[in-house]
Amino acid sequence: MFWFFKKKKKKSEIFERLSEKLEQRKSEHIEEIKQKHKSVISWAKRRGIRVEEIAKQSARGLAAGVAAGAVIVSSGLPISEGTKQQSNTEKEIRNEIPDNTLQSSVKVKKDVSGEVKKTLSGEDMYNEKKISKKLSETLKIPVKVELDGIRLNKTYGVIGYESHLTRYPGDNLSTHFQSSVDREKYGRAGMAGGPGAWGYIAPSKQALTQKDIEREKYYLVAQTFLSPNWGSGEVKQWFRHRKMVVVNPANGQVVVGVLEDAGPEPSTGNSFGGSPEIIEALGFAGGGSDVLFYFVDDPDDKVPLGGYGL
């Protein structure tokens, strides 16, 4: 009844003085980071994050990382073995400047975006027959709704921004990118903590080919499990590495990629997913929107992956 007369318990003086000292030490550490580690400041600026926030988040990440390291070391396993054991459901990040033998070729192609945008203008995006015909004519490649009697559940819908896939056991941020530019550009997307729905693209780093690299770089995700043909192991395998063409009808950007993972969950509202490189090639900044998503009939593997041009 007289609770409102109760005096709030006063903090003890010694507590206040001690907490003040600890706070002061913390501020000194933050100041030291600012003074000594200029690259941390520029890293923070580029991402629009306050240095204090960086330190806080880094300290937490570090805490977890160091603890994980301690756990792995204490288990007697080498770190790489411990890393291999991690769950496929986790997400993993890692960058590396890998060996120089893995170089992708760059060719100048004719930009088709204007033509594609024009040809799709005013069309019903759900008219699969008409859209696939128009795309085949404009892109000069066989664009199909259905291939070998198999189709996806959708050919038009929202594409989501996916993380990088782990291409082989042990692939991570240190091993993933071919250049520091790529790492800077795409590293922030993080990595899926495991392979796609069909397993690793390559069995090991040594076995990784340029083709494997390209496949991950331009990988796509579709709801294969919602395909009307879904149900057998053969169909599941048929979807693996299946070449697709993705078109952003709003700007006419076209990219060719391959299916390397199944998803997204229907509850997300997205119908497809794309690697960070795919999303960028489509002209979406950090997120996705509606795209056309069709098979490319390319049995001889002639159509290159990546941004499409003629």
């Binding site: 003890s12 988040q57 300290a59 994980a68 070391v73």
Partner: protein, 109 residues
Amino acid sequence: MSMIIEAFFNKDNIIVELNTLDISEDEKEKLLKMADELAEYRFLNAILDKLDEKDKEIFLDYTHGGTPEVLAEFLHDKIVGIEEILKEHARNLEYEILEDIRSLKESPK
């Protein structure tokens, strides 16, 4: 968070020393939490000191999105004897905090 404390930062002596103070359990908990936070910053500084500029950025990338396992692997690759380095920083921090507590006890005002 508690994992790193268990792994490197032993607060047993700090707890013993705090128990000699006339402070509430709530205040004691808050101080221990601050000590943990301080340990994190201390470790962060120690790690950054050992990395070159390029690796600092990679490290920040990892801490802002990587898994603990990958970060651990990176740190072990880049910093020889990282456990010992962190243990030493943890010991120094423990000593400093104990000194703070003792000096407050000796000069209450």
